[in-house]
Amino acid sequence: MEGIIGYGAYIPRNRIKVEEIAKVWGADASSYKRGLMLEEKSVPSPDQDTITMSVEAAKNALRRAGIDPVDIGAVYVGSESHPYAVKPSGTVLAEALGATPEVHTADFEFACKAGTEGMFVALSLVKAGEIKYGLAVGADTSQGAPGDALEYSAAAGAAAFIFGQKNIIARTLDTYSYMTDTPDFWRREYQYYPQHGGRFTGDPAYFSHTKGAAKGIMKKAGMKPVDFDYVIFHQPNGKFPFRVGKMLGFNEKQIEPGWLVNRLGNTYSGSSPLGLTATLDISNPGDRILIVSYGSGAGSDAFIFEVTERIDEVRDMAPKTRDLLDKDKNYLEYGEYAKFRQKIRKAN
């Protein structure tokens, strides 16, 4: 039996409100808020990136796992905003945790799905008996082009999971993946901001793949929506996860605990993984959780977890996701936000 033995989250304290962004571009804030079901989003400090947030989330996961970092056999970081184009994020993470040098490390990139990719591989290696523990992090400090609809949602955050075979917090009941080649969102080499296909990102992309993965895993496991206490879908905006949930027969109560997007924004590779950490925070032994990620390009990974009694021991050993989201926020004006995100052209 294998599953999650430690989990941790990290969310930067800076926020910017939809109104603040809309004001700059002369856009109608209320229609964005209604359309995206989004109030505000997180913003990294100038000294934060995918690597630094991965380290903090992973340290929180280690606090709950209570293991010696040298026993971690794999360290994976999934992100579409790795700070280097060439040079791994995972090596910095592994070194910062003290997991080097006997460790397999890789960076994943698959738009918003890179986090669950790492989870899938780490879990599989544990299941195969190749490694004792595997760490996977989904983290991003994504940027939408100034004035683009994505600017209202592209946010920053990280979630980390350690997989193992003993002292499990949530055992894995099943996994499933669903992929096609669907170019709904992309960023070419050397481009600073991504491009997207507008409404094409909806039905043929997000909905088709999340539905495909959710139906596939439930069929594989012989389960129905009523068999789950909680479900987490990737959260590019507030509306999509509820809409796909409804299409599949899930209710709002199953979705809400892991639904963070209205005040967090879309943390890309961190999005559904953070939904999972938030859900684990409030779950009880025996609860069953379905998580379905989505990454443009396009595909979904799905996992079914069953929470064990150990959740009650570890829940308070590291900051809870909702606390990171709600406490000690620092609201930015657009000028500060533009400075933090290096959107201002300066002299060399």
Binding site: S45, D47, Q48, T52, V92, A96
Partner: protein
């Protein structure tokens, strides 16, 4: 541009706060030393320094060296860690008005600076306010 070697060899200290300790008088050294200045003992053991502590003095740098121009103004403080060790580092994600001597802080992993747009990214420890 310096080669990355200079950054690389400090990684155990910068990333993991690795220190050492005199096996005779028990004093901690960060960064690690080869000889204890107190008793001249050369038997030193690997250890770590604490990750939480309190501010004993601080300043806000308004005129920075060139690698830090984009970050200014920023706070730098000396923190007495819970194990008594004192450490100099930036104190970030805070309003400068909230800084005070005795304020509790903890370490977070952050980017310290980058060596220009094409150089390496230099990471390490900074302090954030703790509750």
């Amino acid at each position: 541009m310096t080669t990355p070697s200079r950054y690389w060899r400090e990684i155990p200290q910068r990333y993991r706060l690795e220190a050492n300790k005199c096996s005779k008088c028990g004093i901690k050294f960060f960064p690690p030393r080869l000889i204890c200045p107190e008793c001249k003992n050369r038997e030193l053991e690997k250890t770590k320094i604490a990750e939480t502590g309190k501010i004993i003095t601080y300043t806000v740098i308004r005129v920075p060296p060139h690698q830090f121009v984009d970050q200014a103004p920023y706070a730098v403080g000396i923190v007495e860690l819970d194990d008594g060790f004192k450490l100099t580092a930036q104190i970030v994600d805070c309003d400068f008005e909230d800084l005070k001597i005795g304020q509790k802080v903890r370490i977070e992993f952050r980017k310290i600076f980058d060596e220009g747009e094409s150089g390496i990214l230099c990471y390490g420890y900074k302090f954030v306010l703790d509750e």
